[in-house]
Amino acid sequence: MEKLIRFNLNGKDREITIDPTLSLLWVLRDQFALSGTKYGCGIGVCGACTILLDNQAIRSCTYQVSDVMDRKVVTIEGLASNGELHPVQKAFMEKDALQCGYCTPGMIMNATSLLLSNPEPSRQEVIDAMQDNLCRCGAHIRIIEAIQSAGQEMKKVNQP
């Protein structure tokens, strides 16, 4: 049975009439053409499909599209504003914290969620928060560095 789902996606109010049990990941990719959110495992253990739901990092492959009703979704495409990259995106570039780039959107979304709740995470706090995001190329050491550096940058920006 199809259902009307209304939600805020990357800052815009959107709606779609669709089977509410469909996987959020594939609906974002196919119905909203947001292909930056990646399929990796389908069971929520790799983190490639991480997005923000009300500013919390979630694994979109384990959510149904109905779970976003009246809520706020941000994907990797919604992170930059007016062409200006988000500090986490900039830090990943500056620290060369990626290789094949396939896990990168999920890493960045998870890191963004962390920095929203803890702007100055210690190395250990970064590790704990990122623990369940998998990267096969081995960019981890630079990702840790990038997240800490982004936190510093965000703090500077937020200070009056």
Binding site: W26, D30, F92, E94, L98, G101, H140
Partner: protein
């Protein structure tokens, strides 16, 4: 000198670059501009469609220069994170004398790029670069000649800067590459090929560049195969057997066919369900009832090593020097050990993916493939099609590690799309990815060696059973040695699962065995393991790499186990000499191993992009921790039981050493060697030796799980 037909006014081919060009390019902050071939950029180039299956001699096959000075570099290599999209333009810019910002990379498209067999074996820099640089050097020389003719001066009286040819005596007189070529083929060529530049003439090569594709990747704009927007495409889900060793007896897909909008197609044993929504296709697949023969093979992940050691096969002797018996007589001590290593998956985070779109008799396939030309060959051959009717495009690839040398998904998507008469997207599920993988071979190794009291190796009898020989060289100076490889007889495979390339295949297991055995001998002698290696090395490059590693680490000698948790391994791979030293903490209650720091030292000849090479080394250290400490495929017969990342343990953030330092020896005057694979070969041995050094537990089997570390503890009952 061939006759010139490149007179700008008389050029026969019209430039096909139009104003839309801006839409195609994405300029990046990092310097290099990137363009991957996921959309249709054919109007940018003028290339013949069918190419011979060898790297072309015509330099036009590699590059096209447009009037605005943009250089399109079109090469059959693919980008999967290892960095050619950054390092190739560095070399092109230097050989051509153009600004690196003017170069756009067009990669992995069989219709538009110069032929390349595949992106593997750390060959992009050490082999392919030679062709590319030679092509650029020739293009430069021809352009200088043409410019000199137009300027009415001798070529020796020109100088070139940023794609502009000047009269050296009067810089007001100048002519640009772009004006000369206007995006056309350069019809002139040289009989006597010019030399490529000497390292002292490089401007970009040897400098560090950030990933040129980083902006695309941090914004989610980088297109991988599944991201290519194709109108009307449907998802395909393929029926898989429960085991590799069974045959389909009967199948009933009538329930699936009854589902709204679901289509089932069948080509022999290839049975696929199609729907525009992947969830529905998945549900439809689950309704299919299929019966198979029974897999009666008993070998599993525990019995595999006995299976390998006892299997019948062919033997091949290598590195035979002296007589083992004589070496044994010279020895004061004989040391024997046996090492095991289980199957490893490639496990790229992007699963094998393909999209196939037929137009009449022609098919275009986007595929996550390390070898687009190989996929083209395979598809054309299987379907009896002419090569020019099959176009394969490898967009950004989400990790390969050797696993995407095999691309069954491309052929499957092509067959399914032909039957369905619509574009088909096939994204392997993670479960399929594990099932369909060509694993890194399970390995068994036996070593018998003789040493003198002075710490010299007199005899080395090395046997490797039914896996790749790569990395089985002794590397140490031994007067009496023999390396024996056992391999399967044609038609009777010994490995129960499909195996193949995996980031330095064979070398990981062989280096683990050899370097563990080295430390075992050093411990028996009571000699520091680094000192023991130096006593037995004559290879000056290896010695220099070891010394640089020791220096960077700040290592002080001690006999093992010292309790410090420091271990090393060294070897050669892909033309590179490499050594790795790691420090770990071992929890003697749980057996858990925590890496603390790592130092990589390598002599890789000329280094194009030091930053890129360092990142590859860091990747090797990190990925190597996975195979050494945790990764293992559980299986029985042809049934691959490991199905997802909940049971196949990749390295986690908490495992990452606090520092990974990489020393690249300055060898800019020498030929470039490989960088993507070498350091990973050392990780098994270095970690095994560090574990022993920390707690005295010698682990002979990878992965070195906490249980195996505990079982090896000296006090364990």
């Amino acid at each position: 000198m061939k006759k010139s037909s490149l007179n700008p006014e008389l050029a026969t081919t019209k430039s096909r670059l139009n104003l839309k060009r801006r839409d195609f390019f994405t300029l990046l902050g990092g310097g290099v501009a990137v363009y991957l071939s996921s959309r249709n950029p054919s109007e940018l180039l003028a290339l013949p469609l069918v190419q011979r299956r060898e790297v072309p001699e015509d330099f036009n096959a590699f590059l096209t220069i447009h009037e605005d000075g943009t250089v399109i570099c079109h090469v059959g290599k693919i980008e999967m994170g290892q960095g050619p999209i950054t390092s190739l333009p560095q070399q092109v810019a230097d050989e051509l004398d153009v600004r690196i910002e003017s170069i756009k990379m067009l990669m992995g498209d069989t219709a538009l790029c110069s032929y390349d067999a595949g992106t593997w074996g750390s060959l992009t820099t050490r082999e392919y670069s030679h062709y590319l640089r030679a092509a650029c050097a020739e293009a430069r020389a021809v352009l200088v000649q043409l410019a000199a003719r137009h300027l009415d001066i001798k070529p020796v009286n020109t100088k070139v800067e940023d794609g502009m040819v000047y009269d050296a005596t009067n810089p007001e007189k100048k002519i640009s590459y772009g004006w000369l070529t206007k995006g056309n083929r350069i019809e002139e060529s040289l009989e006597e090929k010019p030399k490529v530049k000497d390292h002292t003439e490089f401007h970009y090569v040897g400098q560090s560049f950030l990933h040129a594709d980083a902006r695309l990747k941090v914004t989610g704009e980088a297109e991988y195969t599944a991201d290519i927007p194709i109108e009307g495409r449907v998802y395909a889900k393929v029926l898989r057997p429960p085991s590799h060793h069974v045959e389909l007896l009967s199948v009933d897909y009538s329930e699936a066919e009854k589902m709204d909008g679901v289509e089932v197609v069948r080509d022999g044993d290839l049975i696929a369900v199609l729907h525009e929504l992947p969830d529905v296709a998945e549900k439809a697949l689950a309704t299919i009832k299929a019966e198979y023969t029974v897999d009666d093979k008993e070998v599993d992940d525990e019995s595999i090593f006995e299976h390998l050691l006892n299997a019948e096969g062919e033997t091949r002797e290598r590195e035979k020097e002296g007589e083992l018996g004589e070496g044994e007589e010279l020895a004061d001590m004989i040391v024997e050990s046996e090492f095991h290593d289980g199957y490893k998956a490639h496990a790229p985070i992007e699963t094998h993916t393909a999209m196939a779109k037929w137009e009449g008799e022609k098919v275009t396939v986007w595929a996550s493939a390390q070898s687009p030309f190989g996929a083209q060959d395979q598809i054309a051959q299987e379907l009896g099609m002419p090569l020019e009717d099959v176009r394969v495009i490898s967009p950004f690839v989400g990790g390969g590690f050797g696993g995407k040398i095999y691309h069954p998904q491309a052929l499957e998507a092509v067959k399914i799309a032909r039957l369905a008469k619509k574009p088909v997207l096939l994204v392997y599920t993670r479960e399929e990815e594990f099932f369909m993988d060509f694993f890194r071979s399970a390995a068994a190794i036996r070593i018998r060696s003789g040493i003198t009291e002075e710490g010299l190796i007199t005899m080395w009898d090395y046997r490797h059973y039914f896996f790749e020989a790569r990395g089985s060289d002794t590397i140490y100076k031994v007067p009496h040695k023999l390396t024996t490889g056992y391999s399967a007889k044609r038609g009777s495979p010994v490995q129960p699962l499909s195996t193949g390339a995996w980031r330095a295949p064979g070398a990981n297991s062989n280096t683990f065995a050899r370097e563990s055995h080295m430390d075992i001998m050093a411990a028996k002698l009571g000699v520091d393991p680094v000192e023991f290696r130096l006593r037995n090395l004559s290879d000056v490059k290896m010695i220099a790499v070891l010394e640089a590693m020791v220096d960077k680490f700040g290592y002080t000698p001690a006999k093992g186990p010292s309790g410090r948790g420091i271990g090393m391994a060294c070897g050669t791979d892909a033309g590179t000499w490499v050594a790795v030293m790691v420090e770990v903490k071992v929890d003697t209650e749980t057996g858990n191993v925590q890496p603390i720091r790592a130092v990589v030292s390598q002599d890789m000849g000329m280094c194009v992009n030091p930053q890129g090479s360092i990142i590859q080394a860091e990747g090797c250290v990190t990925m190597g921790m996975g195979y050494a400490l945790a990764e293992d495929i559980e299986f029985k017969g042809g049934d691959v039981i490991t199905a997802n990342f909940d049971t196949y343990q990749l390295p986690l953030f908490s495992w990452i050493p606090e520092t990974i330092d990489t020393v690249i020896l300055d060898r800019q005057d020498q030929a470039p060697q490989g960088g993507g694979e070498p350091a990973i070969i050392c990780m098994g041995g270095a970690l095994a030796n560090a574990i022993y050094d920390a707690c005295g537990s010698r682990v002979y089997r990878m992965p070195m799980t906490p249980e195996r570390v505990l079982a090896g503890m000296p006090m364990a009952d």
